[in-house]
């Protein structure tokens, strides 16, 4: 079974009224990293996932969710 990672990073960022650049600077990554994580083009490492969760003061599971890829049976 294959999985894909979804996230609510853009939503959480919008709630805080932050730009990608501001969020990137807060956790010490490039804006491209934030941009590509939000669009699902790039899967972040545990370090970035934990940094983001810490920044938003939520659990990692509240930011990222692992979903079964479409077409895969349970």
């Amino acid at each position: 079974m294959s999985y894909h990672l979804t996230n609510v990073l853009a939503l959480k960022r919008a709630e805080k009224g932050l730009s990608q650049q501001e969020l990137a600077a807060s956790i010490g990554v490039s804006r491209k990293t934030i941009s590509t994580v939000e669009t699902g083009r790039f899967t972040p490492s545990v370090i970035i996932a934990l940094s983001l969760a810490k920044f938003f003061e939520v659990a990692v599971e509240d930011l990222f969710e692992l979903r079964a890829a479409e077409g895969d049976s349970e």
Binding site: R13, A14, G28, V29, R31, K32, F42
Partner: protein, 157 residues
């Protein structure tokens, strides 16, 4: 001593590297074409065009190399010179560039190994070497440039 690395500087640096690679790759491709077809010995128009194109690539590569001075002054991390970036996304883009470049080089080397005897009548070893270096620069440059510009229109609010 641990240097504080700014991810945006790294982004600028990898973008700069991709431009140098593309420029150098095209320049070497022009040189390869000359080595195979002897363009500089052809008619006045052909050789003038060849020298003009070659000069353009020499100028653009020199321009990008002079601009590199800025990064040298920033006492950039030794890792970045080795193609390893502190920022994860940039590192993945750079690795993808290297991987595709190595893959294509290996395929061409494999073809040269299989058809080397018949190829040696058409292409000299020097031209083949120049073509390989040119391709490796071009592939690394184009791949990193595309990957770095893929999400440009999805700029944050």
């Amino acid at each position: 001593m641990n240097k504080v690395i700014n991810p945006e500087q790294e982004h600028e640096y990898i973008l700069h590297n991709s431009r140098i690679s593309i420029s150098l790759g095209f320049g070497l491709a022009v040189l390869t074409t000359d080595q195979i077809f002897n363009l500089s010995d052809k008619s006045m128009l052909v050789s003038a065009s060849f020298y003009l194109i070659a000069a353009l690539f020499v100028i653009s590569t020199s321009y990008f190399l002079i601009k590199s001075n800025k990064f040298i002054k920033q006492s950039f991390s030794k890792n970045a010179w080795m193609g390893t970036y502190h920022d994860e996304f940039l590192n993945s883009v750079s690795l993808l560039g290297y991987k595709l470049s190595a893959l294509v080089m290996s395929l061409i080397a494999l073809l040269a190994m299989c058809f080397g005897d018949s190829l040696s009548d058409i292409v000299s070893l020097k031209a083949l070497g120049t073509a390989l270096v040119s391709l490796s620069f071009l592939i690394y440059g184009v791949v990193t440039y595309i990957k770095l510009h893929q999400d440009e229109d999805e700029e944050a609010p």
